[in-house]
Symmetry: C2
Subunit: 477 residues, 2 copies
């Protein structure tokens, strides 16, 4: 029992949510800070979550016919400038390479902030005929955006993501793809991260630079703020015209392709932390947890305990990501450590359990203790992990549902935004000026025009003119 580090207490979640978040990302050993502002080091435990996210999502991409590629890191300035709206959106926040080895470059290269221009440049060379379509490409890379204010996972100068870029023969196909991939993201959030989302369309002010339409999934964090969690963009043929991506159709006519792009990033780890976490630290959804089950031997020096624990580890290891902690730390210390790290299920095994051919399972999400027979352990653990997933999802769904409130006038609206953490549903006339006014007065932005529309009132919450759409508003990360 030598020089053991203690798990120090973290800030309480409802006392200072920002500090709690910082405490968790550091104490759970997800990241380390780095001297370049906004660049983070993903430590093994943090990166393992990302690996599991990649594995799950990549499987869904491949099941829907997508292929992975790798585009270059650098974009020549002239290439970035080809699509005017796009460059206007990104040029102010890119990092520029101006020297290579000992030579000063004749043209600056930006470190990719996103790769539309790279994919378009490639597509202009490899797409010739309708037989070459659709192109359903994706890549897993990091991108760089020179951010002024940064926080681990939520907004970082360099971040990790996947970016899908597709080219289609018709606008209809491209529109279907845009919506299909939004559904993939929403399903992934539900089935892997146990996080419910609101699906909808971004307003003109909030859409992606160069897009015709941007769709989004918005999740609600513990403090009621929104996190834009993934987006899917429909480009029409705007990029195709700028990059001259044409194909000859079945009648030998030249046609422009129609395109989409869609991305999900390490932000999703921020969502996991801020949706499920509690005063004891991280709470990980089982399907992306690096360790799904931790086995803690109690009185491990007693005959048979360690042997049985190893046997259980080996048995469960065939089906789950399992860790046996047989170190000389006190069991209570270990409990705290794996609670901080959000391990979904803890199995305790002591001499008395051995005698009774059982172990004690403890759920991270609600602290419930369940005595399990060792005879049917694999099936019981699978069932408990599924229950943890379902329990996390239900809790998050309740939290979301109970904190979306309606407002019909600006006084109500401002009061809700200021005093009731959560989203506000309110009608909107469609005028960007109202959207801006709401933002200026309340700090809330239009998160999305949700697919599930309701008629709360006939008039815009801001100006009183006839309403066009119901919008979900909220403060956001």
């Amino acid at each position: 029992m030598a020089d053991q580090k203690k798990v120090e207490a973290i800030t309480a979640i409802d006392v200072d949510f920002t500090q709690w978040y910082t405490d968790v990302v550091l104490k759970a050993e997800l990241i380390d800070y780095f001297s370049v502002k906004g660049c983070m080091i993903l430590r093994p435990y943090g990166y393992a979550i990302w690996e599991n996210i990649q594995k799950g999502l990549d499987g869904m991409f491949k099941a829907t016919g997508h292929e992975n590629v790798a585009m270059p890191l650098f974009i020549p300035e002239s290439l970035l400038q080809k699509e005017k709206d796009h460059v206007a959106g990104f040029a102010p926040e890119v990092a520029w390479v101006t020297q290579g080895g000992s030579e000063t470059l004749t043209e600056r290269l930006c470190v990719r902030p996103t790769s539309e221009t790279l994919f378009c440049d490639h597509y202009s060379r490899v797409i010739q005929s309708w037989r070459d379509l659709p192109k359903l490409y994706n890549q897993w890379v990091s991108v760089v955006r020179w951010e002024k204010t940064t926080r681990p996972f939520l907004r970082t100068t360099e971040f990790y993501w996947q970016e899908g870029h597709t080219a289609h023969a018709t606008a209809e196909e491209a529109k279907l793809e845009t919506r299909r991939m939004l559904d993939v993201y929403a399903d992934f959030f539900r089935d892997f991260l146990a996080i419910p989302v609101v699906k909808g369309l971004k307003t003109e002010n909030e859409k992606f630079a160069g897009a015709v339409d941007t769709y989004t999934i918005e999740a609600m964090m513990h403090d009621g703020k929104a996190l834009q969690s993934a987006t899917s963009h429909y480009f029409g043929d705007g990029f195709a015209r700028a990059f001259d991506i044409q194909y000859s159709d079945r009648n030998n006519q030249q046609q422009y392709v129609h395109q989409t792009s869609w991305g999900l990033s390490t932000r999703s780890i921020g969502a996991i932390i801020m949706v499920h976490g509690d005063d004891s630290g991280l709470v990980l959804p089982p399907r992306v947890a690096p360790v799904q089950v931790v086995i803690i031997p109690i009185a491990a020096h007693k005959p048979g305990v360690l042997e049985k624990a190893q046997q259980i580890q080996s048995q469960l290891g065939a089906s789950f990501r399992v860790k046996l902690d047989s170190s000389d730390k006190m069991p209570g210390w270990k409990f705290s450590e794996y609670e901080m790290k959000g391990v979904p299920l803890r199995l305790e095994l002591g001499p008395r359990d051995l005698q009774q051919n059982q172990c004690v399972a403890v759920r991270r999400d609600n602290g419930e203790k369940i005595v399990l027979s060792l005879d049917n352990l694999t099936a019981d653990v699978q069932s408990l992990l599924d229950q943890v997933h379902d329990g996390l999802y239900r809790k998050a769904q309740n939290s979301l549902d109970s904190r979306i409130r309606s407002a019909v006038g600006m006084a109500d609206f401002a009061d809700l935004i200021q005093n009731k953490p959560g989203f506000v549903k309110a009608m909107w006339c469609g005028d960007g000026a109202c959207e801006q006014k709401i933002k200026d007065e309340t700090g809330a932005t239009a998160r999305c025009i949700p697919f599930e529309q309701e008629t709360i009132a006939d008039t815009c919450v801001c100006c009183g003119r006839p309403a066009q759409k119901m919008v979900i508003w909220g403060k956001a990360y």
Copy 2:
């Protein structure tokens, strides 16, 4: 049978090996060129090979206790400069970021050419006690080196690799790790890529900037030239002293850690192409081939053919990476296409095969045709894929063995290097001046001091002084 592209013939391998290589990487659709010199686009088929390499090698890393992390893309100039030999080796070939958004940076950032300095910086913060050791970290990323002459996969400005970086309590442990990871690479080349290698130590002139010892695996290409295929470096405590990475040992004394690093890159795809390829194109080793088995229906319009082909695809798909090509192209065209792409096994299925409950398997490596009963197909295909792997390895081993020749004097040496493609074994006095003279006079470099030493002569092939070691020499990529 509309507007089908034809597979155009490629340059013959023994007529112009360089042009053959370029033809193969383009016609097999591995890469597309990009406007930034030396940056390549990995197309789906090329990237899928890299994904399979990653999967296989990452499994070996995890089985040996290594964990993945992600370090930042940028290294501040002051951090790169901390270890003097290292910065001297890399500073001349890095890309520099000097502007972020609209601001000119006060300190230049280099785009990582390799990440020793990043790992050391992190280790200096997270290693405190002997309990924190060893740290066995790896990352899968791209790195950038501003190269003057580039060729796809072999030498590119941006390339993809893994870089392992470990820290140990003692020099002995770090030395064992260095050799262990070299063995992992050699095993991976043998078991996944079907490529035999020569293992050995690099000379002082050829070792990595900042290393005490650099170990290498060297493979022989079709043209007899060497490809340095992976390296493993022992650093002693040089980086630890430069970055102040100390831990308190069991006696509470402060000690410097001892470190290693090791890397394998997309160069390995170049090795696959240049070791196994032939006049018909790529020949892929089955364990990393994106498509292991392609099924080609013959007279697919005849009743039952396509249905049976689909049934076989579905059956084999449970165990292998299988593609069924039911397009309207001619079978002969398809044969050429999948030969160009190096698919290890082709299954042909026509009406007569159906009647006889069989299909015809054709091996890519040697063209052998084997009639297979449909009753035992999964086991037979597995066996054939293993035979292809073993056949490729044996052929490459024979090619390597028969082209390593001995020289005792400079006249012999120069004649062999000039007239006999392959490696030359020759004794060396250990003096870098002789090594340089050999390079100047013959163009051959010391590939390695192989672990398997022989005494070919008592004197240095160059100067006639007493020999210390046998060295493997060769022209190299």
